[in-house]
C-alpha cells in the first residue's frame, strides 16, 4: 500500500504542494534536454547525409571546446578564438573526408562506423598531447555570455533561472532555426537532404559527395563548439565532457537517427522526463541515479512499438 502511495499519490501531491519546485525541475530538464538535442543533432546530420553513425561526435565537443580555451590561453582574443576554432573544425572536416572517409567509399556501414571510433581514439590521444588533461575554465565572460541569475517567486516559492542556461536555450533555438533554414532553403542544404534520401539518385544529378561530407562534418563541428561552450560553462572543459555524448544515444533511439525534429523533440522529452522521474520517483523509490538508465528504458519502450523511433523513417524493403 505504501509502495502504491509512493508511486501514484505522493509525487503528484508534492507537485501540487510545491509548484515552484516542479517548475524548477521542468526548467532544469528543459535545459538538459536542449543540450542533449544539440549533441543528437550532430549525429543526425552526419547520419542523414552519409549513413555513418559518427561515434566521434562526443570527442568533437571536447576538442572544439579545448581548442577555443587553448587559443584564448595563448593570448588570442575570445571572439577571434571562436573564429579560429571554427577554422580548426573545418580543417578537421576536410581531413576526415580526405584521409578517412574518401578511401572507404562503398565499404559497409560498419567499416565507416569503426573508422569513426578510430577518429575518436586519435582525437583523445592528440588532444591530450596538445591540451593536457587538466580541467580548464570556459571563457564564458570573455565571450560576453551573461552570468548571474534571475530569481522569481512563483506561488510564493523560489525559481532560479541562470543567465547561462537561458543563453544556452536561446542560442540552441537560433542554431536549430538556422540549420532548418539552411537545409530547406539553400541549394547546398537540399543537396544534403537529397543525399540522405537516395545516394545513387543524388550522385547521378551531380551532387558532390565529397563537398557534402565536408560540409556536414563542419556543421557537426559548429554544433560541437556550441555544445562545448554550453556544457563547459557549467563545470569546466575536460575530457570528462566526452561522456555526455552517450546521453545522446537514447535521444537518437527515441527520435530516430534520420530526423532533425526527432533529435530536438527526443532531446527535450528525455531531458524533462528523466529529471521528473529522478526527482519524484527514482530518488524516493530506487535510491537515485536513475538518470543513468531511465532514458534507455524509455527509448526501448518506444522501440517496442515504433522500431524506427518516433520520427524515424519506416524502412520497407522488397525482396
Amino acid at each position: 500500500m505504501e509502495l502504491l502511495n509512493k508511486i501514484f499519490v505522493a509525487p503528484f501531491a508534492e507537485m501540487v504542494e510545491a509548484p515552484d519546485f516542479l517548475m524548477q525541475v521542468l526548467w532544469e530538464g528543459l535545459v538538459s534536454g536542449v543540450l542533449y538535442a544539440l549533441i543528437a543533432l550532430g549525429f543526425v546530420l552526419i547520419y542523414r547525409s552519409s549513413r555513418i553513425f559518427n561515434f566521434a561526435q562526443g570527442i568533437m565537443v571536447v576538442f572544439a571546446a579545448l581548442t577555443l580555451v587553448g587559443l584564448h590561453e595563448m593570448g588570442v582574443p575570445a571572439w577571434i578564438s571562436v573564429v579560429l576554432t571554427l577554422g580548426v573544425m573545418f580543417g578537421l572536416a576536410v581531413t576526415v573526408e580526405r584521409v578517412v572517409l574518401r578511401p572507404l567509399v562503398g565499404q559497409p556501414d560498419i567499416i565507416l562506423f569503426m573508422a569513426t571510433i578510430g577518429i575518436t581514439l586519435f582525437l583523445i590521444g592528440f588532444g591530450e598531447i596538445i591540451f593536457g588533461g587538466e580541467n580548464k575554465q570556459m571563457i564564458t565572460e570573455e565571450l560576453g555570455i551573461p552570468t548571474g541569475d534571475i530569481v522569481l517567486e512563483p506561488f510564493g516559492g523560489l525559481l532560479i533561472l541562470q543567465h547561462i542556461d537561458i543563453t544556452a536555450v536561446v542560442v540552441a533555438v537560433l542554431l536549430v532555426t538556422a540549420l532548418l533554414l539552411f537545409l530547406n532553403k539553400t541549394r547546398m542544404g537540399r543537396a544534403i537532404r537529397a543525399l540522405g534520401d537516395d545516394h545513387q539518385a543524388a550522385l547521378s544529378v551531380g551532387i558532390s559527395l565529397q563537398t557534402v561530407w565536408v560540409l556536414v562534418w563542419f556543421i557537426a563541428g559548429i554544433i560541437a563548439l556550441v555544445t562545448g561552450i554550453a556544457w563547459g560553462s557549467r563545470a569546466g572543459v575536460s575530457f570528462a565532457l566526452e561522456v555526455i555524448a552517450y546521453k545522446a544515444l537514447p535521444v537518437l533511439m527515441l527520435g530516430g537517427l534520420e530526423s532533425i525534429t526527432g533529435a530536438i523533440i527526443g532531446g527535450l522529452m528525455i531531458g524533462m522526463l528523466e529529471k521528473m522521474f529522478e526527482i519524484y520517483w527514482g530518488g524516493p523509490l530506487l535510491g537515485g541515479n536513475t538518470e543513468s538508465w531511465f532514458a534507455y528504458v524509455l527509448a526501448l519502450i518506444v522501440l517496442l512499438f515504433r522500431p524506427q523511433g518516433l520520427f524515424g523513417e519506416k524502412i520497407i524493403e522488397r525482396v
Partner: protein
Amino acid sequence: MKTFTKLAMAGALSLGLAAPVFAEGIYTPNLSYRTGPFAATGIPLMNGQADYMAMLNARDGGIGGVPIDFDECETGYSTEKGVECYERTKAQAVVTQPWSTGITLQVLPKTNTDNIPILAPGYGFSPMANGKVFQWAFNPPASYWDAASMIMQYIAGGDMGSLSGKKIVLLHLDHPFGKEPIPVLEAMAAEYGFELVPIPVGLKEMQNQSAQWLQIRRERPDNVVMWGWGAMNAGAITEAVKTKYPMDQFIGVWWAGHDEDLKQVGADGKGYKSISWSMPQPDAPVMADIKTHVVDAGLSQQEDLNSVFYQRGLVISMILAEGIKAAQDNFGKGEINAEELRWGLENLDISAERLEELGMTGMVPPFKTSCSDHTGHSGGWMLEWDGEKFVQASDLLMADAAFIAPLEEEKSAEYAEANAPWPMNEACE
C-alpha cells in the same frame, strides 16, 4: 619525424599501450591516470609523485644509494586497464600503487599469491587497516572511514551528541570509491541520531548534477558531505553555487579539495571545506630541493608547485620512499624485494623529527604503522577555500578510533570469510 612521434604517442596514450621500460634500480610502478574523465585531478598527484622520486634520484642518487625506477602505466581510471597494468608490472615491481578503489578491490586478492604490497595512501578499502587480514595492503596515513569520522566531528564541533536530529546528505560518486564511507556513516547515524541521505552521482551525470542538487534543495540538509572525484567535484561545486547552497555547510573528502575545481567558481566558492591529511607548505625545505633538482632541471611537468594535490603527491612518494628506506635499514641491503618492502611499509615511523629531517614539517601529520595497523590513522586538517586558495581552517582533527576499530574488525572478517580461504598474518596481535 617529430610529428610522427607525437602522433604515435597520441595513439599509444589513447590506447593505453605505454609499455613498461625497466631501468636499473628499485622498480616502483604507478598505475596512473593522466587521461580520461579523472585526468584533471590525477595529473597534479602523479606529477607530485614523479617529482619526489626524481628529486631523490637527482639529489641523493636514489634511496640508500640505489636509484628509483619510477614508472607509470596509464589506466585512465578504468578498473579493467588497471588490472592489466598490475599484471604487466608485477613481475619486476616491489610495490603496486593502484590509484583507484575499484582497482584496489580487484587486485587485493591477487597480492596474497603474488606477494606484492599494495600502497594506497588515503584511498582503497578502509578495513585494509587491519594488517592481520590484509597483510599485503597499506592505506596510510588515513582511511576513508577516518575521513568520515573527522568530518562528522568537525560538523558536530566536538560534541557528537549535537548531531542528533540533523540531516546530512552524502553526495557521492556511484562507484566503489564513492560508496566507501557509507557503512561508517550509517553506523554513526544510528549511534548519534542523525539522518543520512545518500545521493549518488553517476559517471555520465558528473558534469550535470542538476537533479542531485534539486534533491538537496528539497531535502534541506544541515550539511552536504561530498565523496567526489574528477569532474564530479567541479560539477557539484558549480551546482552548489548555482542553487545558492551555503558553502560553509559543504564539506568534501580529501579528493574533493583540488584547487583547479574551486577556481571554476572562484570567490563564489568561499567557505567550501575539504578534510585533508596533507597540507601545502610552500616554504618547506623540500620544496626548495624540488625546485633546484627537478623543476629547474626541466624534469617537472607541474606548473603550480603549491597546489594541494601536487604537494600531496610529494607526500605519497615520501611514504613509499620511507618504506623502502626502513626495509633497506632492516635488511642491511640496498636492492630490496617486494616482501622486504612489505616489512618496511609495516614499520613506518613518520615522526615529527623525521618530517623535519625530510624538510616536510607540516605537510602531513606524524604517524606510525604496525603489523596490526596498516593505516596509521594520522588525523587531518580541515582546509577552507578562501576564494583563491585552500587555507587551514582547523587544528589537527583525529578520527574516533574507538568507533572505527570494531567496524574495521567486523568488515575485514566479513571480507576474509567471503573470500575464503583467506590467508591471515597470525604473527599480528
